[in-house]
């Protein structure tokens, strides 16, 4: 589904991603962990098509297409969804209106007619219920004045509405209490299927108790320095990142 090879990216003069290799097969859930500032959000943004980051080397293939050639909206239409670490407030645009526009633009991309209004409302009601998001909230300006938890649930709600092929979750768990965490995880699990994949960026192993990953990777200084299964997450929880940092720094020093 997704194949990232030797991906390098920088912002201004600073190289942030320094050779990422990662393959995600249909139905898999990959967790990406790592200390602050290691490049996790950057990786998610580069995959979603944020222009601030310049890809200097490497390739990304998504469902047989060269992902890096596509505009962000084309990537979305092809099935990539990024749940933002910091969802943006958009005054004056309601979530309902926003999602209807998004769905219709994606349908247009695929040569389909706009969604029937009644069908849209039905879909919305059903999905809102599954992530326990209040109807009233969806009629307010997108994310404006939402609590941290409401913003994150709104991201998962949008993902449920857009039914992507690949969901990128950037620290969707941070700032959530245990109930909200469970709702978010349930929302994701409901979407899991044999041909839908997820990359879950998280700091804490606790999310992975609910969304059980097939693989866990540690990102450090712009590279994946360790990969394993869900046991790796438990080990990190127990021992912290210092041993991995030391290992990786030593390896880099010996190369140089």
């Amino acid at each position: 589904m997704l194949k990232i090879s030797n991906l390098h990216a920088r912002v201004e003069e600073k190289e942030i991603l320094r050779g990422i290799n990662l393959e995600v097969k249909p139905g898999e859930v990959h967790a990406i962990m790592g200390p602050n500032g290691s490049g996790k959000s950057t990786l998610a943004s580069v995959l979603a098509g944020r222009e601030d980051y310049e890809v200097t080397e490497g390739t990304v293939e998504f469902l047989g297409k060269d992902l890096l050639e596509l505009a962000p909206e084309e990537r979305a239409a092809e099935g990539i969804f990024l749940a933002f670490q910091y969802p943006v407030e958009i005054p004056g645009v309601t979530t309902v209106n926003f999602l209807k526009t998004a769905i219709n633009q994606i349908r247009k991309y695929h040569g389909k007619d706009p969604i029937d209004a009644a069908q849209f409302l039905k879909l919305m009601k059903q999905k809102a219920k599954s992530v326990k998001i209040d109807d009233q909230l969806l009629r307010r300006s997108l994310n404006e004045g939402f609590s941290g938890g409401e913003k994150k649930r709104n991201e998962i709600f949008q993902m449920a509405m857009l039914e992507p092929q690949l969901g990128l979750l950037d620290e969707t768990d941070s700032g959530l209490d245990i109930d909200a965490l469970r709702i978010v995880a349930d929302g994701v699990n409901e979407l899991r299927s044999a041909n839908r994949s997820f990359i879950v960026v998280t700091h804490y192993q606790r999310l992975l108790d609910y969304i059980v990953p097939d693989f866990v990777h540690v990102l450090y200084k712009g590279r994946i320095v360790k990969s394993g299964t869900k046991e790796l997450a438990l080990e990190l929880e127990e021992k912290g990142y210092d041993w991995i940092k030391a290992e990786a720094d030593a390896a880099e020093a010996s190369v140089a």
Binding site: A48, G49, R50, E51, A71, P72, E73, R75, A76, A77, F81, L82, F84, P87, V88, E89, I90, P91, G92, V93, F98, L99, T101, A102, I103, Q105, I106, Y109, S141, Q158, L162
Partner: protein, 437 residues
């Protein structure tokens, strides 16, 4: 001075008119006009050295030549080409500043709404004119207002008696017929709203044709005790047009005045909105929206003069600047010594869409009372890139994302308009304009 030609032309027009007056030259109305003409000829047209005209240069206007006495043949057919769909109410048509009763439709009975021409009013309602006409406009230092007072002859007086609530709005459609030649016109209307009366008024300006129109407009609105007035000024003129207009509002005790000034198109636009709050417990609202593109220039000057205690004024102007356009906002709030317990708020927010557009803002608060709450703020910024990327990441193309954001920005003002036909008309125009940019 470069403006002598137009000035000379106007002076000689005025002289010719005076010579034709015969016995009527000594009416108070005409004395006011002569005084105004004297003031105008002393003042001349303002230059950018004038503080109030620093960013709005009328040189291009005064160098053009205009026919100030055109004959327009525009009738029903031409007007139907300038539709405002689903507009209901009392609709008054003015072509090049001249009221056309035969094109207008009045729904409200005569005892609730009187529409009379200025010349009729001079003979039939001299007291009303003496009390209000030109009494609150600045004919001394404002050269365009003085000029208008001197020259305007063909407007109307709109009179709503005490204790009258009008269900149907009063809509004045000002059509500038510039199909054949450059046309100059003086639009002058006086609206008197009686005690405890209520009305919604709209003025819509629109050019017909491609030549240049110079519209010099003055509207005076008297809001009686306990009266409630909604007033909307909407503009969609061609790129060659010049509009210099003043709306002078005088509010009495406990009255309510709610306004929106929306400029969709116009080559050079200067709107002055002046409010005198000469009573207690008055509420005033001023909304504005301007969305210039190309080389359009839109200047809004507002002035709220708080003269008495316990009043509140609230102002929000918003601009979207595209292309090589320029915008000006100058907002004055005066709180006089007597006006204790005043609440006055002002806010001006602008989005610059293109690198070549510019916006000048100047809030100007002058407060002589000590127990007041006043605040003002202006922001001028670019579109939020994070928001655009967020929308793109959901499948919305960049251009659509920008449009969605701008529409939402404009909606804050447009949604204030309570005449459905006018609001819908504006929403369509805004969509079209943002789509083309």
């Amino acid at each position: 001075m470069s403006n002598t030609d137009m000035q000379t032309q106007l002076l000689s027009d005025f002289q010719a008119y005076q010579n034709g007056l015969n016995g009527k030259a000594e009416t108070p109305f005409n004395q006011l006009r002569r005084l105004a003409m004297d003031n105008f000829s002393n003042l001349g047209f303002p230059t950018t050295k004038h503080e109030e005209w620093k960013y709005s240069n009328v040189k291009k206007l005064v160098e053009k030549s205009y026919n100030f006495h055109p004959k327009s043949e525009a009738g029903e057919d031409e007007l139907s080409a300038l539709p405002i769909p689903d507009l209901a109410g009392n609709i008054l048509y003015f072509i090049n500043g001249i009221f056309h009763p035969e094109l207008s439709t009045l729904q409200t009975p005569d005892d609730k709404l009187k529409i009379i021409t200025l010349s009729q009013a001079i003979t039939e309602f001299p007291d009303l004119l003496n009390e209000y006409y030109g009494k609150f406009t600045d004919n001394i230092t404002e050269s365009f207002t003085a000029l208008n007072t001197a020259m305007a002859n063909d407007g109307v007086v709109v009179f709503i008696p005490d204790n009258t609530t009008l269900e149907e709005p009063v809509i004045m459609r000002m059509i500038g017929d510039v199909r054949e030649e450059n046309v100059g016109s003086f639009v002058r209307n006086l609206v008197v709203v009686g005690k405890n009366a209520e009305v919604k008024i709209a003025e819509s300006f629109r050019t017909l044709g491609e030549k240049s129109g110079f519209v010099n407009a003055v509207t005076e609105i008297i809001v009686g005790e306990d009266a409630r007035v909604d007033y909307y000024k909407v503009q969609d003129d061609n790129d060659e047009s010049f509009h210099i207009g003043t709306t002078q509002v005088y509010q009495k005790d406990r009255s309510y005045f709610y306004s929106a000034t929306v400029t969709i198109n116009g080559g050079f636009v200067r709107n002055n909105l002046n409010l005198i709050l000469d009573g207690q417990h008055i509420n005033s609202y001023m909304y504005g929206l301007y969305i210039p593109d190309k080389k359009q220039h839109i200047d809004n000057h507002t002035l709220v003069d708080h003269r008495k205690p316990n009043c509140q004024s609230n102002e929000l102007y918003k601009g979207i600047l595209m292309g090589k356009s320029t915008g000006v906002f100058n907002g004055k709030i005066f709180v006089q010594e007597d006006a204790q317990k005043t609440n006055a708020y002002q806010n001006c927010r602008n989005v610059i869409v293109s690198d070549s557009a510019t916006m000048n803002t100047k809030p100007q608060l002058e407060i002589w009372a000590d127990d007041v709450k006043c605040s003002h703020g202006t922001t001028t910024g670019k579109l939020n890139d994070d928001a655009i990327f967020y929308m793109q990441s959901r499948g919305i193309p960049k251009q659509e994302a920008i449009k969605l954001q701008l529409l939402a920005f404009a909606e804050d003002v447009v949604s204030q308009i309570k005449i459905d036909g006018i609001r819908n008309y504006l929403e369509v125009l805004i969509r079209e304009k943002l789509h083309g940019n």
